[in-house]
Amino acid sequence: MWSLIKSMWRVFLHTFRPRETVQYPDERPALAPRWRGRIILSRDPDGEERCVACYLCAAACPVDCIALQATEDAHGRRYPEFFRINFSRCIFCGFCEEACPTYAIQLTPDFEMGEYRRDNMVYEKEDLLISGPGKYPDYNYYRVAGLAIRGKDKGQAEREAPPVDVRGLLP
């Protein structure tokens, strides 16, 4: 009997406690910078697409919500012909971001993506691509990769020595 009264009193004291609820539309929740929300495709500092269409994100995705098709431009630079994320399937696990070798695909602190039609949950490349570099402002994949591309020959990348002609070393 005593414990009943005690627990009732304890519950009653909650009258004077502040409430835990965040009144969402009026009161915005504080989202951490690493919040895993809406997925975007970023660009490198030169304004080019970072994505090299390696399919690693699509392979890592546990719910198979990423679809893309690789293609190449005239200079041998790979990019996705289309890049499609079905957000009605996406579970925002962030595996795609972890898998991405070029920091192209990133998750952002935005979760307000409700739609009235399911079709609208399918985002195409133009919906995903942003104009900036996202979380990695200075990273430029082609500046550190040993790949010949327009404006950069082999051996011109950062911390890269010019290639050695192996035949020239012959005795």
Binding site: S7, R10, T21
Partner: protein, 318 residues
């Protein structure tokens, strides 16, 4: 002529207020439970979310009102009406204030006990007519609960009757002019409170409903406004028991300064909040615990209270 008009006004007033309070309690309960769980509860529709009740009503009226094909149709439809009807009947004898109240019965208290016993039929019939094992289990529990608590519910009130010397609720209130019966009849109050919680099937005695074990107990198969009737019936019951506790133990409309109706309303509201606090803080008892509690603790307590009160009254009279 004016007497008839006054009586009609009383009937309509009591009916209207009782039903309004009962539906308002849906909001109050949700807000208070939320308060005690550090949440907000419904606060979107209208000021403080008060219009939530209206929204709920629109929703429940537009829901499909489905009678399962395997149910006993007649009884199934009748059951939810019984609970509301019996509780509303009892409101007739509640003395709100001098001159306000539907009827001044000499056996008001007995009428209340009779009607509350009838109310249990609603639960049992609903459980039976649903033709559903969970509903039937709920109904069974309701009947077992009834035989455990009805006995000491009646006995716990006899102390009050002895002290007041009347079954008339108005006279019982008048008899508390100098001392509220919650002081000499503290045992009776505790026992009646326990019985009242069981009577309204509220937590911690909501065994017939027991949503964690029996889906929704006796009203598992009910939908639409039939379910709404059970719901409103439960809140009407809470209001009624609170009003009766106030009438029998806390001096009814008696109180300084404020007008009698306000005193009655305030005291009743306090007990309604107490009922909600009970729900917020206590877990549901087990079936056998409820029975054992009723027969082994509450009944002897009520009997002892009756005997001692009787002895004191006799000694004083002698």
């Amino acid at each position: 002529m004016s007497g008839t008009v006054w009586a009609l006004l009383n009937i309509v007033g009591v009916l209207g207020v009782a039903l309004t309070v009962a539906s308002g309690l849906i909001w109050l309960e949700r807000r208070l439970l939320a308060l005690w769980q550090d949440r907000y509860g419904p606060n979107r529709v209208g000021p403080f979310g008060l219009l939530q009740v209206l929204a709920d009503m629109i929703k429940i009226f537009t829901k499909e009102d489905w009678v399962p094909p395997f149910a006993d149709r007649g009884v199934f439809v009748l059951a939810p009406a019984i609970v509301v009807a019996t509780v509303l009947m009892t409101f007739a004898v509640v003395p709100v204030a001098p001159g306000i109240g539907v009827v001044d019965l000499n056996v008001g208290l007995l009428f209340f006990l009779a009607m509350s016993s009838l109310g249990v039929y609603s639960v049992i019939l609903a459980g039976w007519a649903s033709n559903n094992k969970y509903a039937l289990l709920g109904g069974l529990r309701a009947s077992a609960q009834m035989v455990s608590y009805e006995v000491f519910m009646g006995l716990s009130l006899m102390g009050v009757v002895l002290l007041a010397g009347s079954f008339n609720l108005r006279e019982i209130v008048q008899a508390q002019r100098h001392l509220w019966f919650c002081v000499p009849q503290i045992l009776g109050l505790v026992v009646f409170l326990t019985a009242g919680i069981a009577e309204t099937h509220r937590l911690p005695f909501d065994l017939p409903e027991a949503e964690s074990e029996l889906v929704a107990g006796y009203h598992s198969e009910y939908s639409g406004m039939k379910f709404g009737m059970f719901f409103v019936g439960e809140y009407l019951g809470v209001t009624l028991i609170s009003a009766l506790i106030v009438t029998l133990f806390f001096g009814g409309w008696l109180g300084p300064v404020l007008p009698p109706v306000v005193w009655f309303g305030l005291k009743t509201l306090a007990f309604i909040c107490f009922f909600i606090l009970l729900r917020a803080s206590l877990p549901r008892l087990r079936y056998d615990q409820l029975m054992a509690y009723g027969w082994k603790a509450m009944l002897p307590l009520a009997l002892a209270n009756l005997v001692v009160t009787g002895a004191v009254v006799l000694a004083r009279a002698g």
